[in-house]
């Protein structure tokens, strides 16, 4: 028994050096070659950081495309989903009020055109993307508030649409932050 205890202690110490020092530091050093130097890729505008490429942020003004509802208000230091169950009556009321808000700010929008992702909270609270349909229903509003032609905004959405992986796997999506920055740069 005593033999096992001593072996356990020594083996644990050796493995800590291998697994908690050598392994993670090697990866951290290799990641310096990646975009964002292994600290997350930043997006800058006029020399200032305005966000992270992978993280969604809150957009509420009518001249911007809006992202998905977030259970944590896009808090990138406290990610979480809503954890609301599908039959929860309070939750369904919340979804209804999000539908009403969208209808109010997007005149002419029909209920049946609203995609589920625009009225449901994401898993992380930081979802950077919306569906293509989610962008399309906002084109008229954004164009009007920026005095642009709908076609121009539509083209911009198409340019910022992410196709399925290798054109084959997974859904298409639109990155909200990149799309809005492209709008600001017009």
């Amino acid at each position: 028994m005593k033999k096992y205890i001593i072996q356990s202690i020594r083996l644990t110490l050796v493995l800590i050096v291998l697994l908690c020092i050598i392994y993670p530091i090697s990866i951290a050093l290799a990641a310096k070659l990646a975009k964002g130097n292994g600290s997350g890729e930043k997006i800058t505008k006029n020399g200032k950081t305005v966000g992270y490429a992978l993280l969604g942020q809150s957009f509420t003004k009518p001249e911007y495309f809006w992202g998905r509802p977030s259970a944590v208000g896009y808090n990138a230091a406290g990610s979480a989903g809503s954890n609301k169950g599908p039959s929860n009556p309070d939750y369904l009321k919340e979804v209804q009020s999000r539908i009403d808000t969208l209808l109010k700010y997007n005149p002419g929008l029909k209920k049946a055109e609203i995609p589920a992702d625009m009225v449901t909270a994401s898993g992380s609270g930081l979802d950077p993307n919306i569906s293509i349909q989610g962008a399309e229903i906002q084109i008229a509003r954004v164009a009007k508030n920026r005095n642009l032609s709908a076609q121009k905004v539509k083209d911009l959405v198409a340019m910022n649409t992410l196709k399925p992986l290798f054109g084959l796997f997974g859904p298409s999506s639109v990155n909200v932050l990149k799309l809005n920055l492209a709008l600001d740069n017009l």
């Binding site: 809503s82 599908p86 039959s87 994401s122 992986l165 859904p171």
Partner: protein, 572 residues
């Protein structure tokens, strides 16, 4: 066919393409045969030398378990104190506080046991030191513990009659040097070059386009996410686990993480067949497990892609499926696929929130964790399945009126008693745990804990009951996922689930290893006309029936009160 479905089919095929050769490789590694990774031998020799281990020393099954339990207890003590004092230790750039004793108790058991149930949130609850030196460390060694225990079982059936089952330390160290560490390096690199942070930089702050001040948690995440999946651990670096864009930046990384979490459990089954020189048995077990996986996955996909009927009534479009708690970049199909995988194999990582999935999806998630043997966790999956095999052998023996045999060894009263205790342990822990929590919720709503029982549940009615049932089931299965709406960071849940995780981990390791050790030492009976063959389709069907009957009888009433009741209420 749409790109979301093509994506998951491709993921599954890729998984098999990697897992089959990996299984053969593992059988050779643990048998000591020549493999291309033998250039790592000097590293292993160095580890043995520094640790004072002589791997030529053979152990019987009792010595194997002694070694296993000793080192696991050491990790419990070590980790507990680091968690409590993490605020006074270095590498805490965000200044996070030390854990309370009950939270540390829960967290350390959870990570030693390969469960990774998390009652803290990664961003605010732990330091970088804890993340790496305790949590990530345990993700490696707990997975290696499970694999080593399974190899001990393999050893018992390789030779005709034996009590010498190899050296535990050798299996344990080789699991790390030949399997977990090399694969982790590959996956951590893929993740970090796709955007997952890997540096030790502290929290960042920026002003958003609309002028909000936003804090961003970062840190060495890629390293941990690699092993969290390979080792079927599941404990995320950030609170939202693999739904977080940093943990899982895009569809490619999502495929990588889905493949990573299931290749070792599948490979272990194939390795079993090769190792004991009965390949057909390995393939038969793989067949039963895969059919089980599909029977859980197909209805899950159907429920999620169909969308939420209550939201359909509000009149909007759910063209791709239910979206609450899911991420657009993965879509509902890949999230449904993940939710089945992660519950079948005890990973417990999530790329979408299980609490917000459809009632029937919740049912399949729960059932997958209750069965806990379709592939199962790293090493422990095959151990759990072994118990089902023994029960199936016993019942078949009774049906044909012969002494039951397994691989040439008589299965007698002692072995069956152990198998019966292990089989009954799961329903006991799950049902008693859920009953106690329901009782406390109903009768002691005002108890003065960190979260008062009346505020535990974030959803009313049947779904609230499911939240408690899920928490307890996940603990017993060492899964670690949760219906996260449950207010679980308080002394009641920390202690209750801590105890359940501990028992649900170590007894189902001790039991099968003991049975294997006892059987392996018995006289070998050569195969004859009267032998019950365990690698036939008939016996596979028998095992499947045993799994279904045992679990249906144990859990149907509890499942009826939770997800089934919610489902039928929503039909109205």
């Amino acid at each position: 066919m749409n790109t979301e479905l093509i994506g998951i089919i491709a993921t599954f095929l890729l998984t098999l393409i990697i897992a089959f050769p990996l299984g053969k490789y593992l059988a050779k590694v643990f048998a000591g045969e020549k493999v291309w990774t033998d250039f790592l031998k000097p590293l292993e020799k160095g580890i043995y030398k520094l640790s004072g281990i002589n791997v030529k020393e053979q152990m019987n099954w009792k010595e194997q378990l002694k070694a296993l339990l000793t080192i696991n207890i050491l990790w419990l003590v070590y980790g507990f104190f680091v968690l409590i004092f993490q605020n006074k230790l270095p590498l805490n750039p965000d200044g996070n506080p030390g854990m309370t004793a009950d939270l540390a108790f829960n967290t350390i058991i959870s990570f030693v046991a390969n469960c990774n149930l998390q009652h803290y949130s990664g961003e605010s609850g732990v330091s970088y030191l804890t993340q790496q030196f305790v949590l990530m460390f345990l993700q490696f060694v707990s997975a290696a513990t499970g694999i080593a225990a399974a190899v001990v079982l393999f050893k018992a059936f390789r030779d005709k009659t034996t009590t010498q089952l190899g050296n535990f330390w050798e299996f344990f160290v080789k699991s790390i040097t030949r399997l977990l560490l090399p694969l982790s390096i590959v996956i951590a690199l893929i993740l970090s070059f796709n955007g997952t942070p890997a540096s030790y930089d502290a929290k960042d702050q920026f002003i958003s386009v609309q002028g909000d001040t936003v804090n961003v948690s970062r840190g060495p995440a890629a390293q941990m996410i690699a092993i969290k999946h390979l080792g079927t651990n599941g404990g995320g670096y950030f609170g939202a686990n693999s739904a977080h864009p940093f943990e899982n930046p895009g569809y490619l990384t999502n495929m990588v993480e889905m493949i990573a979490q299931v290749i070792i459990p599948i490979a272990m089954v194939i390795a079993f067949g090769y190792f004991i020189r009965r390949r057909k048995l390995g393939w038969t077990i793989f067949g039963v497990m895969t059919i089980g996986l599909f029977m859980l996955m197909i209805p899950t996909l159907s429920a999620e892609l169909g969308g939420n009927p209550a939201i359909a009534k509000l009149g909007i479009s759910q063209a791709t499926g239910a979206m609450e708690g899911k991420e657009v970049r993965f879509g509902p199909a890949a999230t449904a696929y993940w939710s089945t995988l992660t519950t079948v194999i005890s990973t417990g990582s999530v790329n979408g929130m299980h609490d917000s999935t459809m009632p029937l999806t919740g049912l399949w998630q729960l059932l997958a964790m209750m069965i806990n043997g379709f592939y199962g966790g790293c090493g422990v999956g095959i151990l759990n399945y072994f118990i089902y095999l023994i029960i199936a052998v016993f019942i078949s023996g009774l049906m044909v009126g012969r002494t039951p045999e397994f691989l040439g060894h008589k299965v007698e009263a002692r072995e069956i008693k152990i198998a019966a205790i292990i089989t009954l342990l799961s329903p006991f822990l799950i049902l008693a745990g859920t009953a106690i929590s329901s009782y406390v919720f109903t009768n002691y709503g005002d108890a003065g804990w960190a979260v008062q029982p009346k505020n535990w549940l974030s959803n009313p009615g049947f779904h609230g009951f499911s939240e408690m049932l899920y928490e307890v089931t996940s603990s017993n299965a060492n899964n670690g996922s949760g219906f996260e709406g449950l207010g679980d960071n308080n002394i009641f849940w920390n202690v209750l689930t801590g105890i359940i995780i501990f028992l649900g981990r170590f007894l189902p390791i001790i039991g099968p290893v003991a049975i294997a050790g006892l059987l392996g030492a018995k006289k070998f009976i050569p195969e004859s006309a009267g032998t019950l063959k365990t690698d036939t389709k008939t016996f596979a069907l028998m095992t499947f029936a045993v799994i279904l009957v045992l679990n249906a009888l144990s859990y149907f009433p509890a499942l009826a009160l939770g997800p089934l009741a919610e489902y039928f209420t929503m039909l109205k």
